[in-house]
């Protein structure tokens, strides 16, 4: 697969940097975006190391390494009435909305101090207090949830929108198409963001999807606006996602965005074929030429916003924070066996009247 992605200083990226939403960014905010990306990368590298050690973590670990800019740039546009729901490759969004490394790492370690008290694992992070509604393991299962969050916003006349993330492979689930139809029919403020990393597990988009122009263009059949752009440039992602969010907030119209990006690691850490269905050369090329952290860093130093020493310091800080999160996770307690039965029913947890009538659990 060739990389038809913009490099720096093409007319498009210069235009994007001059978009209002980017001109408004202070130097500090720009640095903040860089630090967020560094944090996500360091968090995932630490998680990877401990997953491979094979002691505390189980199940799957889907890394978004290489895709950080998409989460960071889009989430940076969210206000108090904007909501987020995503798939299982979700560490980036989770940290971007402000979840702490500690609670995320502890979740991976299955600890009681994890964001889901050790009940959800890597694919199932949640932080409703940060308008972040998960973390969903079933491919495209979150797409109607995005519709529902948008419905609730509209119902309450809240001027906001829902960003619903999905993968390039998820667009082939029926429920996504049902959701698009209803989003258009009911004028719901939802922005579907297809994070196109070119593969669903070992299947390239060409082998999984029939499309004319691009994946997002299917929206046209529903009369939904769509856009496609590269995820490697923060300015571009912010400018074009902002347009979709404003359309949702102000006109109650959905949008489908396709943001092209790339994952460096396998589908999950257990992906035995990670370097078979794509060439090591392809991976190297992305890492060397299209790495969103490197590109943003370069841009900010061109703008005179940061210098290399500062970036090194930020990176060291992120690394330390990740190491501390690992320590926090390691030393945190496991859930108690009784906790297995908590959080199943609201009414039972609170022992309301409804929670006391009838048998809820059928143990031997």
């Amino acid at each position: 697969m060739h990389c038809d992605v913009n490099t720096m200083n093409t007319p498009a990226t210069i235009r994007a940097s001059q978009a209002d939403v980017n001109l408004r960014l202070t130097a500090e905010e720009k640095i903040g975006l860089l630090r967020q990306m560094l944090r996500i990368r360091r968090f995932e590298l630490a998680a990877l190391k401990h997953y491979q050690a094979g002691i505390h973590m189980g199940g799957f670990l889907h890394l978004c390494t290489g895709q950080e800019s998409v989460a960071v740039a889009t989430v940076s546009l969210c206000g108090e009435n904007d909501h987020i729901v995503a798939g299982y490759r979700t560490h980036g969004q989770a940290l971007a909305v402000g979840m702490t490394m500690n609670e995320c790492m502890a979740e991976l370690f299955g600890k009681a101090t994890g964001c889901s008290k050790g009940k959800g694992g890597s694919m199932h992070f949640f932080a409703p207090d940060k308008n972040y509604w998960g973390g969903h393991g079933i491919v495209a299962g979150q797409t109607p949830l995005g519709l529902g969050l948008a419905f609730a916003l509209k119902y309450r006349s809240a001027k906001g929108c829902c960003l619903c993330f999905l993968g390039d492979g998820a667009i082939n689930q029926g429920v996504y198409h049902e959701s698009l139809n209803m989003a258009a029919l009911w004028n719901l403020p939802v922005v579907y963001i297809i994070e196109n990393n070119h593969y669903s597990m070992g299947t390239s988009i060409e082998r999984s999807s029939a499309f004319k122009e691009c994946l997002a263009a299917r929206a046209e059949a529903y009369g939904i606006d769509w856009d496609r752009f590269s995820g490697e440039d923060i300015y571009e992602v912010r400018a074009r996602t902002w347009a979709a969010m404003e359309r949702a907030r102000n006109e109650l119209r959905p949008t489908v965005l396709q943001i092209d990006t790339y994952r460096y690691y396998g589908h999950s850490v257990a992906d035995a074929n990670a370097k078979k269905y794509r060439s090591p050369k392809e991976i190297e090329e992305y890492r060397r030429q299209h790495d969103p952290l490197m590109l943003w860093q370069r841009r900010l130093s061109e703008e005179g916003v940061v210098n290399d020493e500062q970036v090194e310091a930020f990176d060291a800080e992120a690394k330390t924070e990740a190491a501390e999160a690992v320590r926090f996770a390691e030393t945190s307690p496991l859930p108690e066996p009784e906790d297995i039965f908590r959080d199943v029913y609201y009414e039972v947890d609170r022992q309301t009247q409804a929670g006391r009538a009838g048998t809820f659990f059928f143990n031997d």
Binding site: H56, G58, G59, G120, I138, N273, D364
Partner: protein, 324 residues
């Protein structure tokens, strides 16, 4: 006899049936070029080609339904679900179409279809990926459900499932894929609806299916060694059709039954077995029928805790001792 893995046994069964009948086709996510998410279909695409082994998009409702439709014209699709947990995305196709069409057509339409894949918890993949739908699917007359516990059973049941003329759902287990058992070189088939006594005993019956059979065998060892109790282990192998006679025979001999079941207890496979025993062998019982199921909540992620959620060896032994 050579010792091969459960995975290889399934792989051999698929290869043999692909070679045996040109109408057999394998369809599913990552089954061809990737060699299967769990490598069950390894090498099949290379050997049998694009026509016989097909990768799909992530569209379970479509490709399961496609399998049902193709089976109407005599194709014998073997549909892989990467996890049986994803069956819910295709539930209408499985329950309404695979399950009811033959009946609604007055027997005019036959559906020789297999759906297969792992259906187990215990690997810390979270609640969405840890469903064991054998009880809810077996509650639909019109479909068949088998849950092999060993490589030998996996191969024999898979081959029979593919040759069967009704929809058969084969539920495998990722925790067993790498385990090895003796499997004969020569061809064999295992009929559906025939249980297997995996260990003879006279004091108590442990009745189980899938990986719970392995847990039961280990429990039987402990009961014999440490408690001088001679437990029999009955492996149901097939959930529907169900070998009621084998269950009753064992209970008539031992007069005590502990049902070991990785399902959640409510309307589990073991609930059906319990009703069979109390209805048909009540007078033979010297103790109430007991069950050891998974703890009754969605699957917890936390690895040490999920271990406790499945029927543990300790719980099985303890339950057996409570009625022995």
């Amino acid at each position: 006899m050579a010792a091969i893995t459960y995975r290889k046994a399934l792989n051999d069964a698929l290869a043999e049936e692909l070679a045996h009948d040109e109408n057999v086709v394998i369809i599913g996510e990552e089954v061809a070029e990737y060699n299967g998410a769990y490598k069950v279909t390894e090498g099949l695409w290379k050997r049998f080609g694009d026509k016989r082994v097909l990768d799909t998009p992530i569209s379970e409702a479509a490709f399961v339904g496609l399998g049902v439709g193709a089976s109407m014209l005599g194709i014998r699709p073997v549909i892989e679900l990467m996890f049986w947990s994803f069956a819910f995305v295709a539930y209408d196709q499985i329950v309404n179409n695979a399950g009811c069409i033959r009946y609604m057509s007055g027997g005019l339409v036959n559906l020789p279809l297999v759906i297969r894949g792992p259906a187990n918890a215990g690997t810390n993949v979270g609640a969405t990926h840890s469903h064991m739908p054998e009880s809810i699917l077996a509650s639909n007359p019109g479909v068949k459900v088998v849950c092999p516990a060993t490589a030998y059973d996996a191969k024999g049941l898979m081959k029979t499932a593919i040759r069967d003329n009704d929809p058969v759902f084969v539920m495998e287990n990722t925790l067993l894929y790498g385990e090895t058992w003796e499997v004969p070189e020569e061809e064999y088939l295992i009929p559906l609806g025939v249980a297997d006594v995996k260990r003879e005993g006279s004091d108590l019956s442990l009745i189980a299916h899938g990986r719970a059979v392995i847990t039961s065998l280990q429990a039987a060892d402990i009961l014999a060694r440490e408690h001088n109790i001679d437990a029999e282990v009955v492996d149901l192998r097939s959930i529907r059709p169900l070998d009621e006679e084998a269950i009753l025979q064992s209970v008539r001999k031992t007069h005590r039954a502990v049902l070991v079941d990785e399902n959640k207890p409510f309307c589990a496979v073991s609930a059906q077995i319990a009703t069979t025993i109390q209805g048909k062998a009540f007078d033979d019982l010297d103790a109430p029928v007991m069950r050891v199921c998974s703890l009754d909540t969605p699957a917890i992620y936390s690895p040490p805790l999920e271990k406790l959620q499945l029927p543990t060896l300790e719980r099985v032994v303890e339950k057996a001792l409570s009625i022995a």
